[in-house]
């Protein structure tokens, strides 16, 4: 059976529980479902919101190719990635990755891989909105994110 791959770029919130449920029901051999949700933080009360800008078209294509690479590396029944754009308030979900496999190692590793690659390849940028109403800086990319991505030894 071909894995069920879903990539959505949207401004609306997502329902993590519903997405996990959907991959959990892909078949009786699904033995492990891993999910990761990334949330907007207030950074200790400093931020009112994060605004996410993206490159339409390229965002879908890049995440799609990361998902395709994950499926080629691990035996997966399904992968769902949802990435939001627009204004996020603290505690709002920004990104969701769900992977389904027979065993936990594949589902854990694949979800980790997708997040690491998405951080450095998917064309999204975060801008800070401060609690005093002013616009803050664009969030800087972390060198640590590049290191985490390179540990998977994928050169693209």
């Amino acid at each position: 059976m071909l894995p069920l791959l879903t990539v959505r770029i949207q401004s609306e919130p997502f329902d993590a529980a519903a997405e996990i449920e959907a991959l959990s029901r892909l078949g009786e051999d699904v033995g492990a479902v891993t999910s990761f949700t990334g949330f907007c933080r207030s950074e200790g009360g400093r931020l009112a919101a994060l605004e996410l800008e993206h490159y339409p078209g390229m965002a879908e294509e890049e995440i799609g190719s990361v998902v395709a690479e994950a499926v080629s590396r691990w035996p997966l029944y399904g992968v769902t990635v949802i990435h939001r754009h627009g204004v996020m308030r603290p505690s709002d979900g920004i990104v969701l990755v769900v992977t389904a496999s027979s065993h936990r190692t594949a589902s854990f590793e694949a979800a980790n891989f997708v997040m690491d690659y998405l951080k450095t390849r998917a064309p999204f940028w975060k801008k800070e909105h401060r609690v005093d109403g002013s616009l803050g800086d664009w969030v800087d990319a972390k060198i640590e994110d590049d290191r985490l991505a390179t540990r998977w030894k994928l050169d693209a």
Binding site: E53, M58, E62, I94, F124, W125, K126
Partner: protein
């Protein structure tokens, strides 16, 4: 007969590159001697203060040709859309 010496390309900018230039996208006629993405960034730098600011540290600015990441030495010939943006901070 005239030889075409300029080619027109759509450029798109994101995040602080977009803010510094003051445009989300534009069509520009690029001289033929501009062959690579790095040369294009260098040529754009000469188009005014806003561009000079956006590309003041060209090593930081990333490029994409037709929505694929490329290295600075990538050739721009045949491209229909070239994007410039800072390192990505999604996820």
């Amino acid at each position: 007969m005239w030889l075409i010496s300029m080619s027109e390309i759509k450029l798109v900018y994101f995040a602080w590159v977009r803010e510094r230039i003051g445009l989300a996208e534009e069509r520009v006629s690029v001289p033929d001697e501009v062959k690579t993405v790095a040369e294009l960034a260098g040529w754009l730098q000469t188009r005014g203060e806003e561009y000079a600011h956006a590309f003041e540290n060209p090593a930081v600015v990333r490029g994409a040709i037709d929505r694929k990441h490329v290295k600075p030495g990538a050739l721009i010939a045949g491209a229909s859309e070239i994007a410039f943006f800072p390192p990505m901070t999604g996820g």
